[in-house]
């Protein structure tokens, strides 16, 4: 009456219907119910189509059905997909009691194996010719297998490369992968010169190389990345001094860093200044502040030709990029003082609110060097009317760029 495929689809439809009912009644999830109901409708449709077309089998009134019936076909060969499918099931089960990513891996294995298995089973009934059936399978599967398989292979190789690179030191990474690139070039050159090399040997050699790479990636990945130091910025030191004054003072007493605020200090701080890695090239369309060799600050703004020493107007509530260029002959930093801010300092369970200077600064920049300073000022200058700024000339009011250690290097900033 019904073919095997139709029975399978009928069963799947019933299971899907039950799942829809159970989920819809037991869970309060409209989206899930709609999804399951859609799957049910789809399965019922497929069942109907299959029942009518009978798996593309011969119809009952076929006069010569014997040769084309399944029973008359040679037995199909062994397939790896049931094994992978079973493995995927186990992985899903293991994942359910361990880690969610394992479930995802198992589900991927289930989908891939299920799909391949289904296509293979379908193709093996296409004809009595195994060769033809294999071709049918390839036609259906290859357009998906090749790109997906290629992407997975490339992903594995890239991931393995990255693990090895992150495991080696920076210098060794450059040496190792420079050497690897040279090997690739030499091998490619050799292959080009000797095209009649045994294909099996070449393939075997490449397979060994890939396995070695993946193995190296797995081992180095398991061992972990090299120790990558987290560079401390001037903002971190500024915040440290304000929020944890006692620890900061202790560190200064032990000689780990100078005593004052980093943005008010002409001295070098560990990490933030000595290992500064944030020096950037001049960018277009940004403001520029220059410390001249005469010890004064000039600024240049986009669009206007020439520099100015007048008040520099900066936008409010908008991130602003300023390049600091040190044209003096000593290491200097550029600092910006935009009034005060209220910070909360925790003393155990108690929180103390204190007024602190709102500052930001570059690291110490070598003579001729430049660095980008990005900041945002949310309060206008006039909000601090009547409040002298200790970093302005003679405690003038307002906001000021200044260079610690160079008293004459001040530049007024106005934020409307």
């Amino acid at each position: 009456m019904f073919t095997t495929g139709t029975k399978f689809l009928i069963g799947a439809s019933v299971v899907s219907l039950l799942a829809t009912l159970i989920y819809g009644i037991g869970q309060d999830g409209v989206l899930g119910t709609v999804g399951l109901a859609s799957a049910t409708v789809g399965l019922i449709f497929l069942t109907s189509v299959n029942a009518i077309l009978r798996d593309s089998n011969v119809f009952l009134d076929d006069e010569a059905p014997v040769e084309s019936t399944a029973a008359a076909q040679p037995a199909p060969g062994a397939s790896v997909w049931p094994l992978v499918f079973a493995l995927g099931t186990v992985v899903v089960a293991v994942g359910l009691i361990t880690y969610q990513p394992v479930v995802v891996i198992g589900l991927i294995a289930l989908v891939v194996a299920g799909g391949e298995w289904a296509v293979q089973a379908w193709s093996e009934r296409a004809s009595s010719s195994g060769e033809h059936n294999a071709e049918v399978r390839s036609r259906v599967s290859n357009p998906l297998e090749y790109p997906v398989g290629g992407a997975v292979a490339v992903g594995i190789i890239i991931y393995s490369f990255s693990r090895v690179m992150l495991w080696l030191s920076k210098t060794n990474t450059v040496i190792a992968f420079g050497a690897l690139a040279a090997v690739v070039v030499v091998v490619a050159f050799a292959l080009a010169r000797r095209p009649k090399l045994n294909a099996g040997a070449v393939g075997g050699g490449m397979a060994i190389g890939v396995v070695a790479l993946v193995a190296a990636g797995a081992v180095t990945g398991a061992d972990g990345e090299r120790d990558i130091p987290e560079f401390e910025t001037t903002s971190i030191w500024q915040e440290e001094a304000i929020l944890h004054p006692e620890e900061y003072a202790e560190g200064a007493a032990e000689g780990h860093h100078p005593e004052g605020l980093i943005c008010e200090s002409p001295e070098a701080f560990p990490e933030a200044d000595e290992n500064a890695s944030e020096t950037v090239a001049i960018k277009s369309s940004i403001y520029e502040v220059v410390l001249n060799d005469s010890g004064t600050l000039d600024y240049d703004v986009p669009g206007v030709v020439g520099t100015s020493t007048a008040v520099m107007s900066l936008p409010r509530s908008n991130p602003t990029n300023v390049i600091f260029r040190n044209d003096s002959d000593e290491e200097r930093r550029l600092s910006l003082d935009v009034g005060t801010m209220t910070v909360e300092i925790e003393h155990g369970e108690e929180v103390e609110e204190v007024e602190a200077r709102n500052q930001i600064c570059t690291t110490l920049i070598e003579p001729g060097g430049a660095q980008l300073l990005t900041f945002r000022v949310d309060e206008p200058t006039f909000a601090f009317d009547g409040q002298p700024n200790p970093n302005g000339p003679d405690d003038a009011e307002g906001f000021w760029f200044f260079v610690p250690g160079v008293d004459s290097a001040v530049l007024e900033v106005y934020v409307p």
Partner: protein
């Protein structure tokens, strides 16, 4: 190879000779002709509009004139090429239409013709490119500017701030000025626009004065602007920027040098509090209570004498709200979407001859000209006036910050008070 094709063609001809296809074809041709005529008439009528303030073909400044001088000949050349190509196609379609004739002998390649048809367009493109590059470079010149205005776009309005500078006519600008909606510039002066954005990409475009310039967050973009004569010039954001993009408008008011100096002086005047006991004084208190968190009015103090510093960064996603210190010196509000002037007063400004424009513009919004209806509605329920992300229940993506002005649940009395107060802000 040609026989089957020929056979098919002949068979089709014989089939269709008496079929309804011919009738349908005749009807379709008739409809197509009518549609084409209607479209052409529409295009013609649209081109006749004389009240089109954003017409790109009416340059009012040297920069827009540069673009116009380039665009017109390029348009003529492109139009001529287009007409020739279409005419040739039409002639070929008609001349070689299917009449049942056998397919002619097929040839492959005609080097002389192919090379000629490659070189000719290349020469045309080179001819167009040379002046185009020149104009592009000319438009990017900024070293001849004499006045700087910082332009900042945010959803959905433009802020204009004038930094301290020696430029902008003889007296310079001694203190920064912040305004919005309408940018005021001296006429016949090259003004340097330094534009950026606080949230998403916007595009500044005053068609009569220059081309478009995108304003990208984190970057500063330059645009030179100049108006030949005093007058007002309309524009609008030209880069889709969210729900109210279509309502993000701006205007440039070009004044005489003296008029611009008067405008600057007025903008820098000290704050004048309302008369004690007046409705406006009650409005001042209402403003402090309801509006001053976002909107800055320079010099405003609360009842205890504490200066009011707006913190829009704590309320609004872009971090800014229009400065209302001199609201009634400009004659629009809410991103120049709504007028503050009655129609007749607005027309008097917009249609003023250039020698009278400055005086009329500087009158600002007078009691007689104040069109309070829109502003009243705006205060009553701003989100109902134009689309904004102002629903307090849908602010999760912006960490509780509004885009645009929210509903403030003001009472009618408060609205009356605020209108009286705002009318004095000039």
């Amino acid at each position: 190879m040609s026989a089957p094709n020929h056979d098919r063609t002949k068979r089709r001809d014989s089939d269709t000779a008496t079929s309804v296809t011919a009738v349908i074809s005749k009807i379709s041709r008739g409809r197509a002709a009518k549609f084409t005529a209607l479209a052409a008439a529409g295009a013609l009528v649209a081109g006749c509009a004389d009240n089109a303030p954003q017409d790109t073909f009416q340059p009012e400044g040297t920069n827009a004139q540069l673009i116009d001088d380039l665009a017109r000949p390029v348009f003529y050349i492109a139009g001529l090429v287009g007409i020739i190509v279409m005419a040739v196609i039409a002639w070929v379609v008609f001349r070689y239409r299917d009449r049942g004739q056998p397919i002619p002998e097929q040839t492959h390649g005609k080097p002389a013709l192919e090379i000629g048809l490659t070189i000719l367009p290349a020469l045309i493109l080179i001819g167009v490119a040379i002046p185009s590059v020149g104009v592009i470079m000319d438009l990017n010149e900024t070293d001849d500017t004499e006045c700087v205005v910082n332009v900042t776009g945010q959803q959905w309005w433009w802020e204009f701030d004038y930094p301290v500078q020696d430029g902008c006519v003889d007296g310079g600008i001694t203190e920064p000025i912040v305004t919005s909606g309408q940018m005021v510039i001296p006429a016949d002066t090259n003004v340097l626009i330094r534009g950026t954005s606080r949230d998403v990409i916007h595009s500044f475009w005053i068609p009569a004065l220059n081309g478009k310039r995108d304003m990208v967050p984190g970057r500063v973009h330059n645009l030179r602007m100049q108006a030949n004569e005093p007058g007002i010039y309309a524009g609008q954001c030209a880069e889709f920027c969210g729900l109210s993009h279509a309502n993000m408008r701006m205007e440039v008011a070009a004044l005489t040098d003296d008029g611009f100096a008067a405008w600057v002086d007025n903008q820098l005047e000290d704050y004048t509090p309302p008369e004690e006991g007046s409705l406006a004084a009650e409005g001042e208190a209402a403003f402090v209570a309801n509006c001053a968190r976002c909107h800055q009015v320079d010099g405003l103090e609360d009842a205890d004498g504490v200066p009011q510093v707006a913190r829009p960064d704590e309320q609004v996603y872009s971090g800014a709200a229009p400065n209302l210190t001199n609201l009634m010196t400009r004659n629009t509000f809410a991103g120049a979407t709504f007028d503050l002037l009655r129609d007749e007063c607005r027309d008097a400004v917009w249609e003023a001859p250039s020698d009278e424009f400055t005086d009329r513009y500087l009158e600002g919004v007078t009691d007689d000209c104040f069109a309070e209806v829109d502003l009243r509605e705006w205060l009553r329920d701003a989100p109902a006036m134009r689309p904004m992300y102002a629903d307090p229940e849908e602010l999760e993506p912006t960490d509780g910050l509004y885009r645009g002005m929210p509903y403030l649940a003001l009472s009618e009395d408060q609205i009356d008070q605020l209108l009286a107060y705002l009318l004095e802000r000039k």
